[in-house]
């Protein structure tokens, strides 16, 4: 067991956890932040993507104890919450463009989408639909055929 301290969605949290606890388990089971999903056991599907210190990471492949002092952002942290809280432009775009069906892949898609838009903007590169498809290499959706996910990210990119 190891004690770990980190900031999750702006809040300081800590836990005394077995060393082999994955970040995805720590989020889901210890913090009960169940928006981060587990879709596979080979780090292939991306349903579990969160941001760690601003970088997108598959939380199913990261040990929680290795993140002492880290800043973690999950899908729940994108909006303040509450009745009239504003949603992140990526969240709005997924609704506007029907970028989700069952919603299981969606948290990972949104977290991945936000990162790619930010990165391309920072590098001054054009986020084309082909680039979006290539960037989604690590995210699987079984419902949407990606068409509207790509449209959603394209749309959000114009608003972020």
């Amino acid at each position: 067991m190891t004690t770990v301290n980190m900031t999750v969605n702006g809040k300081a949290v800590s836990g005394n956890i077995p060393d082999n606890t994955l970040l995805s388990e720590f989020l889901r089971e210890n913090l009960r932040l169940t928006g981060t999903h587990i879709g596979c056991d080979t780090s292939q599907c991306g349903a579990c993507v969160v941001h760690i210190n601003g970088m997108p990471v598959k939380s199913c492949s990261t040990l929680a104890v290795s993140l002492d002092g880290a800043e973690v952002l999950t899908i729940e942290g994108l909006t303040k919450g509450g009745k009239d809280a504003e949603l992140h432009p990526m969240q709005v775009a997924f609704n506007d463009n029907h970028g989700l069906q069952c919603g299981f892949c969606t948290p990972g898609m949104i977290m991945t989408g936000i990162d790619m838009v930010k990165r391309y903007k920072a590098e001054g590169k054009d986020l084309t639909s082909d680039a979006i498809r290539a960037e989604l290499e690590g995210n699987i959706c079984r419902c949407t055929g990606y068409h509207n996910i790509v449209k959603s990210i394209e749309d959000a990119a114009t608003k972020m």
Binding site: G39, H98, C102, G103, T106, C143, T144, G145, H147
Partner: protein, 785 residues
């Protein structure tokens, strides 16, 4: 903006999913939670000589280890197949016994043998590894063509030769005579590759026994919670229906795999009672590959004869289907009544015969996966048409046109009475959208870059809206396939719709609300949809077979008819007018042509306050209905796929995919298009990427996303989707169902396009780069000879 029928209303359910607030089964954790892990057979076929759980029982956190002898000893019944298919000699199908935990014999890798219950999931999983099973290994069969061999090992005692049934449909003598009269015969051997459905949310079950009430609650990832309760009660004897509540909360995709009650749900319920703990089991992806019912897996030989006018004069199909180690719930119906019945396609064929033999193998059970039988039929039909056109040196669209059914209703020789359609029209729409006229120039341009361009068609029909109960019953179905609905108008005029349909991505919370907002002309925000809980919804058959719109919504419409009648009576009484003069519009209930009106909410209030109701009227405003369709609905479509193949690498790129569909009336085009995108993508996955592989010993080689290729964003193009609406006369909304069309129609379009590009028709699915490259080399060596 309109929120009624035909409007592109954005989904009401999205906010919880985009903010991480969805409530999926695995997000639930009960007080008193314990965890289950299953001990699974590592052999494809083995006698179980003994189970030693002593080491596991001594491990940290382990509460109990339970096996199949205890399970059957407690009277838990075998898992059944719910559709009886009779062999052509009149004998019943050979259903082998399937216990939720195997007792004497394991029949596939992953077959559950025992369950470990522990305080944490990790403890349960580690202890499951420590349970020692003494196996006596037996020879195994993984491939269906080996199951029928003389010396094949026998998997179920009551199925000699591993045969489950040998069934036929149509008139063989007529089909033979038709073929004998033909001036051209096309023959093809086709394999429909085995697939794993792979909803992104793995299956989960949480069973909670309440000893004080002797009551069970099951939270589970189900497409049809009431069907699950019925099976668990009436057949598996877990608990009587009034003592069992099944809740399917947010479910992360189904595609067929979540229709069935699996061993895990049964075992968790029973183990919860045995341990007096709430028991949670969460599948990981590896377990999903091992245990979720697979789809397809047919081997077929087909022969089609044409006369001088290129009309089809005879069609004979011989299919062998692999049903896996046990007969899953609908497994028997998939290669028969959901397959052979659609072998007339969009064509006028009078002389038709299909024979189907199904066999056991030492693989996971095979059952319905998106499309279920209809993709297999379409693949046969549309590969035949394209091949015949090439052999006859004809335009493949023209050969189809010559044979299209032109008038409706149309009775095929394969039981089906097609309701409505306009096949030439949708083909023309697809051809225009795909710019067929410009294809030759595009092909030349691609050739200049060293690439091979090809184009392929698929014009298909499917039977959806499962199903008229009486017809289904006469064909062997164990249940009726109606749907139920309840419309509750609250005293303030807001409405709750309780439906037996289940949404696991289809957007029912939006589309079902649309038909209500449309009907009563009220804001869509005042309509809520309740589904997925047997304590709330009276009953329901659930969601599969593209049935939620044609059957589920129709039940809502029927209940709304009753509400409307009562509303009009109340308003007529209050406003002192004739019932016939009352109209509902703009949030008001009015006397037509006057300014006399009540607000919609005032009628609701009047019904509940009940101070002034018509003589003899019961208070309240709530109606229920059951809708049983008179016929299936028959969506049809024309798909065109254009590909470019790199002859050096065999890599196929889909340049353009065009889908023109006839789904009848469309409630929400945005959602319908999304269903087509997803369905076509699964079809492209089948055609290019996906394949379940077992080795000869029955070990699963494609047990993870490292080995089983899922379609990813870069594999898939944008889609060109359009619609033509010929309303179905068989339900009040004229809807036909749209969930499966994409998966049904697309695989042959893709393969027809690739075989066109490479000039070799001998190409099986999945058309991986290696397979395509080999097919190109084969053409080269033929050319060189």
């Amino acid at each position: 903006m309109s929120t009624g029928i035909g409007a592109r209303v954005k989904r009401k359910e999205d906010k919880r999913f985009t903010t991480g607030k969805g409530k999926y089964t695995d997000d639930i954790r009960n007080d008193n939670q314990a965890y289950a892990a299953f001990v699974r057979s590592t052999h494809a076929h083995a006698n179980i000589k003994g189970i030693d759980a002593s080491a596991a029982l001594a491990m940290d956190g382990v509460i109990e280890v339970l096996d199949g002898h205890q399970l059957t000893g407690d009277g838990i019944g075998n898992i059944i197949c719910g559709w009886a298919v009779t062999s052509k000699d009149g004998s019943p199908m050979n259903m082998g016994a399937w216990s939720a935990l195997a007792t004497s014999k394991a029949r596939y890798v992953g077959d559950a043998i025992a369950v470990v219950i522990a305080e944490t999931q990790a403890q349960a999983r580690i202890a499951a590894e420590a349970v020692v099973v003494d196996y006596e290994e037996l020879p195994a069969i993984a491939h269906v063509m080996k199951a029928m061999a003389e010396d094949a090992p026998n998997i179920h005692e009551n199925a000699p030769g591993n045969l489950i049934y040998d069934w036929e449909l149509g008139d063989e003598a007529l089909a033979d005579a038709g073929l004998a009269s033909a001036t051209h015969i096309t023959t093809l051997d086709l394999t429909n590759n085995r697939l794993s459905p792979n909803p992104m949310e793995p299956r989960v079950a949480i069973a909670t026994y309440d000893d004080a009430e002797e009551h069970y609650t099951l939270h589970t990832t189900s497409q049809n919670p009431h069907v699950a309760r019925l099976l668990l009660s009436a057949f598996y004897q877990v608990a009587p229906e009034n003592k069992l509540r099944v809740i399917a909360p947010d479910v992360g995709g189904g595609f067929g795999a979540k229709i069935y009650v699996y061993p895990e749900e049964i075992t968790c319920l029973w183990a919860s009672m045995r341990t007096n703990r709430s028991i949670k089991w969460t599948s990981d992806r590896s377990e999903a590959f091992l245990t979720d019912a697979h789809g397809r897996d047919h081997v077929t030989t087909a022969k089609m004869g044409f006369d001088d006018n290129h009309k089809i004069v005879g069609f004979k199909v011989d299919t062998v289907a692999n049903l896996g180690a046990y007969m899953s719930l609908f497994s028997s119906s998939v290669p028969t009544y959901l397959y052979a019945t659609l072998l007339s396609g969009q064509y006028n064929i009078q002389n038709l015969h299909c024979n189907v033999r199904t066999y056991y193998t030492n693989t996971v059970p095979v059952d319905a996966y998106r499309g279920a039988g209809r993709p297999e039929a379409t693949y046969v039909m549309e590969r035949m048409m394209e091949t015949a056109a090439r052999e006859l040196d004809m335009d493949p669209a023209e050969l189809r046109r010559i044979n299209f059914i032109q008038t409706f209703p149309h009775q095929t020789p394969m039981l089906m009475a097609y309701d409505a359609g306009d096949f030439p029209k949708i083909l023309e729409m697809a051809q225009d959208a795909a710019d067929i006229a410009g294809f030759a120039a595009r092909k030349t341009e691609a050739a200049g870059r060293g690439k091979l361009r090809g184009i392929g068609y698929s014009t298909f029909i499917e039977a959806c809206g499962l199903a008229p109960s009486q017809a289904a019953g006469s064909l062997g179905a164990g249940v009726g396939l109606w749907e139920s609905a309840e419309v509750r108008v609250n005293p303030v005029g807001s409405i709750e719709i309780l439906t037996g349909s289940h949404s696991h991505g289809q957007g029912h919370e939006t589309t079902f609300a649309q038909i209500v907002a449309d009907r009563f002309d009220i804001p869509i925000e005042s309509v809520s949809i309740v589904h997925g809980d047997t304590d709330k919804v009276q009953f329901g058959m659930g969601t599969y077979g593209s049935r939620s719109a044609p059957v589920g919504m129709s039940a809502v419409v029927k209940a709304m008819d009753k509400v409307e009648a009562k509303v009009k009576k109340i308003a007529a009484h209050t406003l002192e007018a004739a019932e016939e003069d009352i109209v509902i519009e703009g949030g008001q209930v009015k006397v037509a042509g006057t300014d006399k009106a009540m607000g919609w909410h005032e009628v609701g209030l009047a019904a509940y306050i009940a101070h002034n109701l018509p003589e003899g009227m019961e208070p309240g405003l709530k109606e229920t209905a059951f809708f049983d369709p008179v016929n299936f609905s028959f969506p049809s479509g024309a798909f065109i796929c254009e590909v470019e193949v790199d002859p050096d690498t065999g890599v196929t790129e889909i340049i353009k995919f065009t889908a023109a569909d006839d789904f009848g009336t469309i409630i929400n085009p945005m959602i319908v298009e999304g269903q087509v995108h997803g369905g076509v993508t699964q079809g492209i996955g089948q055609a290019l990427l996906e394949q379940v592989v077992y080795d000869d010993d029955g070990q699963l080689l494609t047990g993870s996303y490292m080995d089983y290729t899922m379609p990813r964003a870069a594999d898939i193009p944008f889609f060109d989707v359009s619609h033509h609406e010929t309303p179905s006369p068989n339900n009040p909304l004229g809807v036909k169902g749209c969930g499966e069309a994409g998966a049904i129609g697309s695989p042959p379009a893709v393969i027809n396009a690739i075989t066109d590009a490479i000039g070799n028709n001998n190409l099986a699915m999945p058309a991986t780069p290696q397979a395509v490259w080999r097919a190109i080399q084969a053409t080269k060596s033929v050319a060189a000879e």
